[in-house]
């Protein structure tokens, strides 16, 4: 005999069930209140759920499309590619004095600040715009331990 099978203790089980009693009778009004509340809530939540699902599906489709473009058309998602190391060193020498120094960074920074025309060749990080990031990159090259001489 196992202690864990209620069928082995029929009398005890029946007595315990009887002890617990039927519990309170749930009035019809409470049934109606709960169920009508549920219907209202479902309608609202269902609309929200469908909206969320649609947005999720849209985002997933966009992500898939982006991945497909990247895989099928190499380079399609980066029209301006970052410069390689030798090109970068050449391009960062803005004033063509043979050295990359803080003056090169200053020239670009001043053009940006004054909204002067910007040379697309100054887009050193290849992100499609000439901005503070390019200035920072020139400054970084200028203060490198191995010096700022273009290669």
């Amino acid at each position: 005999m196992t202690d864990f099978d209620p069928n082995q203790f029929d009398a005890l089980r029946t007595a315990l069930l009887d002890l617990q009693g039927p519990g309170p009778a749930v009035p019809r009004e409470l049934d109606d209140a709960i169920l009508s509340d549920a219907r209202r809530s479902f309608a609202a939540r269902r609309r929200k759920w469908v909206r969320v699902q649609r947005i999720g599906a849209g985002l997933a489709a966009a992500a898939l499309l982006a991945i497909a473009i990247r895989v099928l058309i190499p380079g399609a998602n980066s029209p301006v590619r970052p410069l390689q190391r030798p090109q970068l060193a050449q391009a960062a020498d803005i004033n063509r004095d043979g050295h990359i120094d803080i003056l090169d960074a200053f020239i670009v920074a001043r053009h940006i600040a004054r909204h002067d025309p910007l040379d697309p060749a100054w887009d050193l990080n290849g992100d499609g715009v000439v901005d503070q990031k390019d200035v920072d990159l020139i400054a970084h090259l200028a203060v490198r331990v191995e010096g700022g001489k273009p290669q």
Binding site: D3, G23, L30, D37, A38, F42, R45, R46, W49
Partner: protein, 200 residues
Amino acid sequence: MVGGPRGRQLDWPAVGSSESHNDDRRDEALIAALNGGDVSAFDSLYYRYRDWVARLAFRFTASDVDALDVVQETFTYLFRKFPGFVLTARMTTFLYPVVKNLSIAARRKRERHISNEAGSDPIAAPSRPELAQSREELSAVVAALPEGQREVLLMRFVDDMSLAEIGAALRIPEGTVKSRLHNALGTLRNDPRARNYFGK
């Protein structure tokens, strides 16, 4: 009845029964229907578990009014899970801790307002004056069990939950469930007031 609690039917209404909601679909199918927008499936779930929830809530609260409040709050909690609800266990296993926690909260709330209320035993044996003498004695023995043992005993024998379901509902290892059940039955078996329920 499909998928509902497996409680024994006595004189009182059968667990989960409802004349107007004899839906043969399993709980999983009802939940899938609800997630798919079929709101009527909630009615079936509600009527399948309403009486079990009410009885369980009464077990914890020993108050009709509190138990009915708990019924409402339990099903409000349940329907707010939809859509997107995933049932990973039996519905009773999912609902048990919900009903228990709501019941304990309701009971505490009531006791704050009634300062001379009896102790705060979470599973007090309800007073049933109509019970025969032997049942009253059994009630006293059961009420004297440690709370954890009494809870497991009632879940197994009254709610007909499996050991694994009890463990999942109470978030305790199955070995602990077995141990508590073994100790509870041992106490009952050794008590002269309850011994006759164990036969020869």
